[in-house]
Symmetry: C2
C-alpha cells in the first residue's frame, strides 16, 4: 500500500497516477480535497477576480453610456456563491480520485517519522509514502496579529462585510491580486510591501500592473509593525524609513507561504522547513517522496501537480525527472499579466501593444489593450522569453512556455495563423522577429 | 511602383511588407482602411460579443444574488461606441501603413484590365499589382430584399433601434454569432438556415453552440423566400419542406460572402468570380497578384494577411508559398468554440469538460465550463485535431494549430506546465494521451 499525505494538487495527482496504474493507495486529507489551490488560493482568486473584472467592465460601459442603470456586488452572496462552486469542484475531484481506485481518509491526521507513517496515531505499513502536506500562509509575528478582522486567504471566506478600509500586507503576486479585487469591489485598499512592490517583475508588466491598480495606495519599504485595536483591528502600524499607520476595517495577510511540515519528521529539511528532495522527488529517506509546496517554492499548482506525477512514476519504477525550466506565471488583475523566461543571456526584445480582441475590444476606449513582448536569441532565433498582458494571456504564456522549453525558433513558428480577432500581441511578433533576423546583414 | 488595390487585411499586409522592404507602394482604398474585418466583420462581432457576454454574465450574477440592481444595454450608444473604437483602430492602421512608407489614396477607385491598372480612370505605370479587393455580403435575390430594415453586416451600424423581432438569414458562423449577440441584448431571434445549422461543425461543439443559443429559434432547411412589408420589413417568408413566415422588425443577411471582383478584368476567375491564384498568389497575368477574400474562401483575416505577405515576398523575389493547412477557427458565442484539424485519417479522440478558470469560474454554477478535445494518431502520437470551448479558446486553437502543422507529438508536449487556473481542457489531455499511448500494450 502507498500512503499519500495531503489531498492538494501534488498529493491528488500522485494518488491518481498510482491508482490508475493499479496500485493500492490511501490518501490522507485532514480537511477538504483540493488543497489551498481550490479552497483558498488560485480558484478563490479566480472567483473574485472574475467578479471584479465584471464590475470594472460594467463601469467602463456605464461611463461610455452603453450600460444604463446601476448594479452592485453583494459581497456576502459572492462568498457564498464561491463556496457553492468550490463545493461542486470538490465533488468532481473526490469522484475523480475515487474513480482511480484511491481510498480517501478525510478528517484523518497523518504523521511521519522517517520511514514510519502514522494515521490518527496508528502506525501503517506502507510500501512508499508521498508527503504532500502543502504550505500555509506566512503570518508575521507582530503584536495584534490575532485580532478579529485580521485575515489570511484561509479565513477570507469568513469576512462578514466588504471592508471600507482594507490593508493588504505583502508585495507579491497575491497581494497585487487581492488589491485589484477589493479596490474594484469598492474598498479603499492600502498595500504594505516590506520592500519593493512586484519586485523582479518585467518593468513593462510592472507599469501595467501599477496602472491597473491606480486606485490602490501602495507603500513600499513599509514592513508590518503592529496591528492595533480593542475588540478588533482598527489601525495598522508599519516601519521602514518612513514609518506610519493606516486605518483598517480589515487586514489581509498576503505575505507568502511557508511549507507545512510540523507533522513531518526524520527527513532532511531546508532552512524554511521545506522537505529536501532530488529531481525524482525522493527525500533523504528511501521510499519517502515529497511533492508540491512542502518541498519549498515556487508554490504553483502546475509545478505541484507535475511533481506529484514525477513522484508517482518513480514509485512505479519509471525514471522520471522534474525540471523547473520555463515555468509560465501570471498575475490576474484587469488583464492577465503573464510571462515565462528561460535563462541564458541577452537577445532582441520586441514588443507591441496587444491588439483588440475578445475581452479587450472596449479597452481601446481607455487607450490600453495590454502588451505583447518576446525575447529572441539573435543567432539561433530561439525564443527566450515571453511577456503578455491581455485577457487570456495565461494561455499564451502556457503554450509559449512549451516553445521556450523546447528551444523552438521564430523561424520554425513563422507563419503562425491566429484565430482572428485575438487579444494576443505575441503571435504577431514571431513573424516580425523572423523577418528581422532574416533581413539583417550578416556580421 | 507597386499598386495594391484594397486596404483590408490582405492589401494592407502586402503594402506594409513591400514598403518595409523599401519599395514604392501606392495603396488604393475607396472606403476606409481595415476592410470588412475591422469595419463590418471580425471586430464588429467582437465589439458586440464582448457586450453580449457582459450582459449574460451580469444575468448569471444577478440570478445567484451576487449582483443587485439592474442595468441595460443602450443599443445606439453601443453602436456609437463601437464606431469610436473602430475609428481609433483605423487611425492606428493608417499610421502603421504610412510609417512603412506606403502612399494611401483614400476615396479612389481602381480598375484592372489584365496588366493595365487605372486609378480614378487614369492609367498607372506599375511594376506589379496586388489585387486585394476583398468580398461583399451575399444578398439573396428574393422579393423585398431592398426594403428598409433589411441589413447586412455592412449596414448594421445604421440600425436605429434594437429590433424586437430579428430574423437572421444564414446557417453558418456569422449567423450563429449575431444570433447570440442579439438574443443576449433582448431581441427575439429567428435563424433561417438554408440547410443544416452549423453544418460540418464537430458534433460536441455544435451541441454546445445550440445550448448557448437556447433562446434562439433555429429553422433548418428553411431558405429565404421573400421579405414582405409596405414601408419597411414586416414579415419574412421561407420555403423548404415546411414553408412558413415569421414576424420581423429587422432582417440580418448573414449568408456568406462573395468575392468583390466587378472592377477586376482580364485575369482568370473561378465560378464564383474569385480571382484564380497559385500558391505564390500569382494570377494568370504575369506581375498581377491577388490575395485575401477576392481569391475565394475561407474568408479569414489571418489567411488574407498571410496571403498578402506571400504575394509581397514573391514580388520581392523571395520564393514563398501559401499553404492552407491547419487553419484554426472559432465561433464566438458565450464561449469561444474553437477548432483546428489536419487531414489524414483516424486517431484516438480524448475529451474532458474544460476546467474552471479565468472567465469561466462562475459557469460552474450552470454546470458548464466548456470542452477540451484532442485527436491523436495512435502510432506516432501526432496531434491531428483540437477542439476547445471556453473563454480564450481561440488562443488555444492558435497555438495548437502550430503543433498540428508541425506534426508535433503528445510525447514531445508532455509535461506542459500551464498557468493555473486556466480555462483550457486541452493542455491536460496532452499528458493524458502521452500516458495512454506509452502504457498501451504493443500490438
Amino acid at each position: 500500500m502507498i500512503v499519500v499525505v495531503g489531498g492538494g494538487p501534488a498529493g491528488r495527482f500522485a494518488a491518481v497516477r498510482l491508482g490508475n496504474a493499479g496500485r493500492e493507495v490511501t490518501l490522507v486529507e485532514k480537511g477538504e480535497i483540493g488543497g489551498q489551490c481550490l479552497n483558498y488560493g488560485c480558484m478563490a482568486v479566480c472567483a473574485l477576480n472574475d467578479a471584479a473584472r465584471h464590475v470594472q467592465r460594467g463601469r467602463e460601459f456605464a461611463a461610455a453610456g452603453i450600460l444604463t442603470g446601476a448594479s452592485e456586488i453583494c459581497f456576502s452572496a459572492l462568498l457564498a456563491g464561491m463556496d457553492n462552486v468550490q463545493e461542486k469542484i470538490r465533488g468532481v475531484l473526490d469522484q475523480e480520485t475515487k474513480d482511480a481506485g484511491v481510498e480517501i481518509r478525510y478528517g484523518s491526521a497523518a504523521r511521519l517519522d522517517g520511514r514510519q507513517v502514522f494515521i490518527d496515531g496508528e502506525e501503517i505499513e506502507a510500501d512508499a509514502v508521498v508527503v504532500a502536506t502543502g504550505s500555509v500562509p506566512a503570518v508575521p509575528a507582530v503584536a495584534g496579529v490575532s485580532l478579529p478582522g485580521v485575515h489570511t486567504a484561509h479565513t477570507l471566506p469568513q469576512m462578514e462585510d466588504l471592508p471600507g478600509d482594507l490593508v493588504i500586507v505583502g508585495g507579491g503576486v497575491q497581494a497585487a491580486e487581492f488589491a485589484y479585487i477589493f479596490s474594484m469591489f469598492g474598498s479603499r485598499v492600502t498595500v504594505l510591501a516590506r520592500s519593493a512592490f512586484l519586485k523582479g517583475l518585467d518593468p513593462r508588466l510592472r507599469r501595467l500592473a501599477l496602472k491597473e491598480l491606480a486606485d490602490v495606495e501602495i507603500r513600499e519599504g513599509a514592513p508590518l509593525d503592529r496591528v492595533v485595536g480593542s475588540e478588533r483591528v482598527e489601525d495598522v502600524g508599519y516601519g521602514g524609513s518612513e514609518p506610519g499607520t493606516c486605518r483598517a476595517d480589515a487586514v489581509l495577510l498576503a505575505a507568502g507561504l511557508v511549507p507545512n511540515t510540523a507533522m513531518i519528521e526524520g527527513v532532511e529539511k531546508g532552512p524554511n522547513g521545506e522537505v529536501r528532495v532530488n529531481d525524482r522527488m525522493e527525500t533523504s529517506v528511501k521510499g519517502v517522496y515529497a511533492a508540491g509546496d512542502v518541498t519549498g517554492g515556487p508554490f504553483l499548482t502546475p509545478v505541484a501537480r507535475l511533481q506529484g506525477v514525477v513522484a508517482a512514476e518513480n514509485i512505479l519504477g519509471i525514471d522520471r525527472r522534474f525540471d523547473l525550466a520555463a515555468v509560465p506565471q501570471s498575475i490576474s488583475l484587469a488583464n492577465d499579466l503573464a510571462f515565462c523566461t528561460a535563462g541564458g543571456g541577452g537577445g532582441i526584445d520586441l514588443s507591441v501593444p496587444a491588439p483588440a480582441g475578445p475581452g479587450s475590444f472596449w479597452s481601446v476606449l481607455a487607450g490600453d489593450t495590454g502588451l505583447g513582448k518576446i525575447r529572441v536569441d539573435r543567432e539561433s532565433g530561439e525564443i527566450r522569453g515571453v511577456w503578455a498582458a491581455s485577457p487570456g494571456a495565461g494561455i499564451i504564456a502556457t503554450y509559449m512556455a512549451d516553445a521556450i522549453r523546447h528551444r523552438r525558433t521564430v523561424h520554425e513558428l513563422d507563419g503562425l495563423l491566429e484565430v482572428h480577432p485575438i487579444a494576443d500581441g505575441v503571435h504577431g511578433l514571431i513573424g516580425h522577429a523572423a523577418s528581422l533576423l532574416r533581413d539583417r546583414p550578416k556580421e
